[in-house]
């Protein structure tokens, strides 16, 4: 299948509007070929991953610095968390801070909104259902498709960067309504109670399903934001699936029972405890902060506790007094960063991290090389407060 470009798009590809636009169209063309797109369509909003120096390294930082000399974003473009909270003390190296600064500067030059959040869907006005966006950051893509009725493929940092520059994306996969009806379902043969249970389900499904959309049936109807975010993040971490649905469908079914739960826990639950509790991957919203504050019931954390959230959420939590309650209970609320690939959680400093996030557990185990104690939020608070 050939991707048909308009005359202006062809000219962009040929370099008429500069090198960065040409690179962006080259990227979109490759993605179009890969996903069998016939044409490009406009997108209303782009969300970029590839902000944290810990993830993109020198190669990514140097690429962005050069690319940003000329490239400018043509649609609203928000960005993922960086490595740390600039308003707080940390012991990161000056090299880390310099390189992180270069990355931020590059995004700023291109015209991004400095959101530093992996939950843009909780911070900005959403387009109407059915509109096309381009979300890298896998949890945001899955949430956009599954919960908010927006249309995006499971974009990569670079595909979304190309969309930010051109305002376009290949019309393929989950952007086509025919592909948004799942043809495969997970048959759930176990109880799902906590947000951790939903994370385990998502992690299993991502591995089991090759298709872009999976159905969980009514188990995922009317679940709260904590569970939905946990499910979406885990699904995006282990697989290539970019959407879940609650539709009951006939067709192929994969069973998810106690054995499947055990296999996920065997892979990711690598410690009985830890020295620090890390909450937020994805970053917590107001709903979760309030829930945790209420669950605490005036008690204090018995271990060091880091809570990651977006800065606008923190400011709202300050206005309502929830942030002060959590901080006086001993929590360190960190903005602009997230547990996932945080340079603040290294194996030099910690033997074990306690979390309820499957996504965090995956990257802590495999990238940060820190072992993880997985537990749901209710049990964490019961066990580690006094």
């Amino acid at each position: 299948m050939i991707v048909h470009l308009s005359r202006a798009e062809e000219e962009g590809l040929d370099g008429k509007f500069g090198d960065s636009i040409s690179i962006a169209y080259k990227l979109l063309l490759s993605i179009g070929k890969a996903t069998d797109a016939e044409r490009l369509i406009p997108v209303d909003w782009v969300h970029l991953s590839g902000v944290n120096y810990n993830t993109i390294g020198d190669a990514g930082a140097n690429f962005l610095t050069k690319f940003s000399e000329e490239a400018r974003f043509s649609v609203q473009t928000t960005i993922n968390p960086m490595g740390y909270d600039a308003h707080k003390q940390n012991n990161l190296s000056s090299k880390f801070k310099i390189k992180q600064g270069e990355i931020i500067k590059a995004y700023e030059n291109m015209g991004s909104v400095p959101s530093f959040s992996c939950t843009p869907y909780e911070l900005f006005q959403l387009p109407e259902r059915g509109h096309n966006v381009s979300f890298a950051e896998s949890n945001a893509a899955v949430m956009a498709n599954s919960v908010f009725g927006l249309q995006t493929n499971k974009e990569s940092s670079l595909s979304a960067l190309a969309s930010a520059v051109t305002g376009k994306a290949p019309y393929s996969d989950l952007r086509m309504s025919s592909n948004r009806d799942s043809k495969i379902k997970i048959k759930i043969d176990t109880d799902l109670n906590s947000e951790l249970d939903y994370g385990i389900l998502g992690y299993f499904a991502g591995k089991a399903v090759k298709e872009s959309c999976v159905s969980f049936g009514p188990h995922v109807s009317n679940i709260d934001m904590y569970k939905a975010k946990s499910l979406a993040a885990a699904l995006g971490t282990s697989g290539s699936c970019g959407m879940f649905s609650n539709k009951e469908i006939d067709g192929e079914a994969i069973s998810f029972g106690k054995e499947e739960v055990k296999s996920v826990m065997d892979e990711l639950n690598s410690n009985e405890s830890g020295e620090v509790i890390a909450l937020g991957s994805p970053q917590l919203g107001l709903y979760e902060l309030e829930l945790i504050s209420n669950m605490m019931g005036g008690k204090k954390f018995s271990k060091k506790c880091m809570i990651f959230c977006a800065r606008p959420i923190y400011e709202k939590a300050c206005s309502s007094g929830i942030a002060q309650k959590l901080e006086s209970a001993g929590a360190n609320i960190i903005c602009d960063a997230c547990t996932c690939l945080s340079p603040l959680l290294t194996h030099d400093e910690y033997d074990g991290v306690i979390t309820n996030s499957i996504k965090a557990a995956h990257y802590l185990n495999k990238s940060n090389r820190v072992s993880v104690c997985l537990s749901n939020i209710k049990s964490i608070i019961k066990e580690y407060t006094k």
């Binding site: 993605i31 990514g60 890298a136 896998s138 893509a141 670079l158 495999k366 990238s367």
Partner: protein, 139 residues
């Protein structure tokens, strides 16, 4: 006896490459499973654990997980430890396509009716990004 097997592919990122085959049926998370400085597969749960991607022809189903994996592929190339070419056997995902496009790594997708034969590790192969073929030299 030397036997050449030629498989038809769709060209996603053009160019030619050759190298030893590194074949897996498991998807790869390029952010969390690969050391970007050394090019090693570091995920002990992966069947390519301990293998080095440098100068290989990587044959795998598709990439999973982080959207940042595209930068990881670019970093492998920048650090001189990337595969010389990549073949997706199942579907070409956006992460792999965009990573290879920016890193200029030839990328092919195996046609649906073609199968990778059982081969010895380290069989040599050639990607022809003009004609869209993967040629395996079976010794």
């Amino acid at each position: 006896m030397e036997l050449n097997i030629s498989l038809r592919c769709k060209v996603i990122v053009g160019g030619s490459a050759s190298g030893r085959m590194l074949v897996t049926k498991q998807p790869i998370n390029f952010l969390s499973s690969v050391d970007h400085l050394m090019g090693m597969i570091t995920d002990s749960n992966h069947e390519l654990y301990g293998q080095c991607l440098k100068n290989s022809l990587l044959v795998f189903p598709y990439a999973v997980g982080s959207s940042v994996g595209a930068y990881s592929i670019f970093a492998l190339k920048s650090n001189g430890v990337s595969p010389s070419g990549i073949i997706c056997t199942s579907k070409t995902d956006i992460t792999t396509a965009s990573g290879c496009a920016i890193a200029n790594i030839p990328l092919l997708e195996l046609h649906k009716d073609q199968d990778i034969p059982e081969i010895d590790d380290f069989s040599e192969a050639i990607i022809d990004g003009e004609s869209g073929t993967l040629e395996i030299k079976k010794v």
